[in-house]
């Protein structure tokens, strides 16, 4: 154990091998490590196995580029700014992506069990649904539940009878322990203590569950500062392996108290994601067409970004126009 190593975005993305098992920070369209996902696309990663408590815009960027082999999750979309996960859906339909569906609460159980070093966690959430239909166990159908991949559980879930209080049947949900957690965070101390603002989502659990952790931080701050309120931090430095300091790294997703979701950018991406051609054109402009995060920001422009900047008291943009009024 020790302090995390400072690396560049390109170096960080280069750590990921084709076929690696990943999870990400954030929630749908909030605090996603977008810059890192763009870089993985540029580096041409293939056959990634994702476990996501929920998916979002970053998932779609990876799916459109053909980076994803297996996606275990419960949801993908862009919230108000794009109803569906079109690229992921296309991958499921054409068979290029193996989708394993859980419910949101079951997916939380998977990561929580992984975080706590437990092989499973019980839950009564989403019993009696087709999520549990044995015919729909896609990893099993693909022959991947034979124990040869230690990251894929032998069963999608188990059902046991409660012997402690005789409460009847309950599910056991297997842990998820990805090779990598790629976390976008607002602040990291000089010795690696991590802080996010407002809701914590499942970032705490993702960091603990993964074998290795990369933090893409909006800013690096003095360690003494971040330790003055230790109840607000989500992980110590020894839980982090690599750090990239990169402002606006979550764009177009939002980051509480940093910047808001870029609705227009996201809507445009969603439209593009509806076809392979659309995606390619979009990626040629915004991913392949910019060779660094700095070039991407320059292309977005100062005034565009300033409009997204969070009000420091409210935690979100109070200047951008959101609706029709």
């Amino acid at each position: 154990m020790g302090k995390p190593q400072k690396v560049t975005l390109k170096e960080a993305a280069a750590l990921i091998n084709d076929g690696d098992f990943l999870t990400f920070s954030g929630f749908t369209i909030w605090r996603r490590p977008m810059a890192f996902c763009y870089e993985m696309v540029r580096q041409g990663k293939k056959n990634l196995h994702l476990f996501e408590v929920n998916g979002g815009t970053h998932t779609e960027v990876l799916a459109g580029a053909g980076c994803i082999g297996i996606w275990e999750s419960c949801w993908v979309g862009h919230e108000l700014y794009g109803k569906l996960g079109e690229a992921l859906a296309a991958g499921q339909i054409d068979g290029s992506i193996i989708v394993e569906d859980y419910s949101h609460g079951q997916a939380v159980a998977r990561l929580l069990a992984g975080a706590y070093g437990l092989p499973f966690i019980p839950t009564a959430l989403s019993m009696g649904t087709d999520i549990l239909n044995p015919k729909y166990d896609n990893l099993k159908k693909a022959g991947l539940r034979d124990g040869s991949n230690p990251k894929i559980p032998l069963k999608k879930y188990d059902i046991v009878h409660d012997t402690l209080y005789d409460k009847g049947e309950i599910l056991l949900i297997p842990a998820a322990n990805p090779d990598w957690a790629v976390i976008y965070a607002s602040q990291i101390g000089t010795e690696g203590t991590v802080r996010v603002f407002s809701q914590r989502y499942v970032d705490v659990e993702a960091i603990k569950a993964a074998d290795k952790v990369i933090v893409i931080a909006e800013e690096v701050v003095p360690e003494e500062y971040i330790r003055q309120e230790p109840d607000r931090n989500i992980a110590p430095g020894y839980a982090v392996d690599y750090v990239v300091e990169l402002p606006w790294a979550a764009h177009p997703t939002g980051s509480q108290f940093n910047y808001d979701v870029d609705a227009d950018f996201m809507r445009a991406f969603y439209q593009a994601s509806k076809s392979k051609d659309g995606y390619k054109k979009w990626a040629d402009e915004w991913v392949y067409g910019v060779d660094s995060h700095e070039a991407y920001l320059e292309k977005l422009g100062v005034n565009h970004l300033q409009n997204l900047r969070a009000n420091t008291v409210m935690g979100y943009s109070t200047t951008m126009k959101r609706g029709t009024r």
């Binding site: 839950t123 409460k167 809701q199 009024r325």
Partner: protein
């Protein structure tokens, strides 16, 4: 004082208002993005001032002054009682038993209240993929009551949904897949289940056998029209008449306070 009913309102306005009326004062409500959010926020400003709202990203009893665009939004946590994460929302609140009411949506529903938000067609070779379950089935598992807010279209109200994403009143019990009453699936974890479905045409409830019936029909529609917009044989014999219209005050609150920017109600 006689209520001052609005004469001019849109279908979504009535949906939001009718949904808000499902909230009992003091309810702990677990809501999703969009109309569910409008419904709980309107209820808090009208008949249920002591109701509180949990969002699955981890905010507990937030008091947004600007309408959140999603449940992960920073706006959800403004003046919240607790801001934590999903483990808190799903296990510390929902599985722990605090939640009285869940507000949910769906793409397809069947006569037992089973909801599909996953695929159209055979799951193993789908024609179309939706967003997936999200927290819908979880909230619907352990909230004491759930209300679904949906668009009424014939193809969405089916005898059997293509995929049971969210559990209604009659369900497959795995591993056998035999259809049984929800109580048999949930055993001692049973807390309740779907209590209402609210569409742009009417308000539906469930009888003791867990079968959907029409409770009230929205102004401008007939019970028969609603029945014609279901693929299953909807029971309209218990229809009590017309759904109560929105009041002028409710519409004003919706447009001037709840969604003052015109995000979900343009």
């Amino acid at each position: 004082m006689a209520k001052n009913y609005a004469t001019n309102y849109k279908p979504n306005d009535l949906l939001a208002v009718a949904s808000a009326r499902e909230v009992n004062d003091g309810d702990v409500v677990f809501a999703g993005t969009g109309l569910p959010m409008l419904a709980i926020m309107l209820a808090q400003k009208t008949t249920a001032p002591n109701s509180v709202c949990i969002y699955e990203a981890g905010s507990v009893d937030g008091r947004p002054v600007d309408l959140p665009a999603s449940v992960g939004d920073a706006r959800c946590a403004w003046q919240a009682s607790v801001a934590a994460g999903l483990t808190e929302a799903f296990y510390g609140q929902l599985h722990s038993g605090y939640v009285d009411l869940g507000f949910l949506g769906g793409a397809e529903i069947d006569q037992y209240g089973n909801v599909n938000t996953t695929v159209v067609g055979d799951y193993s070779a789908p024609k179309k993929r939706f967003t997936g379950s999200g927290g819908n089935p979880d909230i619907n598992s352990l909230a004491r009551r759930t209300v679904f807010i949906m668009v009424q279209e014939k193809r969405r109200f089916k005898e059997h949904v293509d995929y049971i994403t969210s559990p209604g009143w009659r369900l497959p019990k795995w591993p056998s897949g035999e259809f049984v009453h929800r109580k048999e699936v949930y055993g001692k974890f049973f807390q309740g289940g779907p209590s209402a479905v609210i569409t742009n045409m009417g308000v539906f409830r469930f009888d003791d056998d867990g079968i959907m019936y029409l409770d009230t029909v929205h102004p401008g529609f007939t019970a028969e029209q609603v029945k014609d917009n279901c693929l299953f044989d909807l029971n309209i014999s218990r229809c009590q008449g017309e759904t109560e219209r929105p009041t002028v005050e409710e519409i004003e609150l919706l447009y001037n306070e709840v969604d003052k920017e015109g995000i979900f109600l343009p």
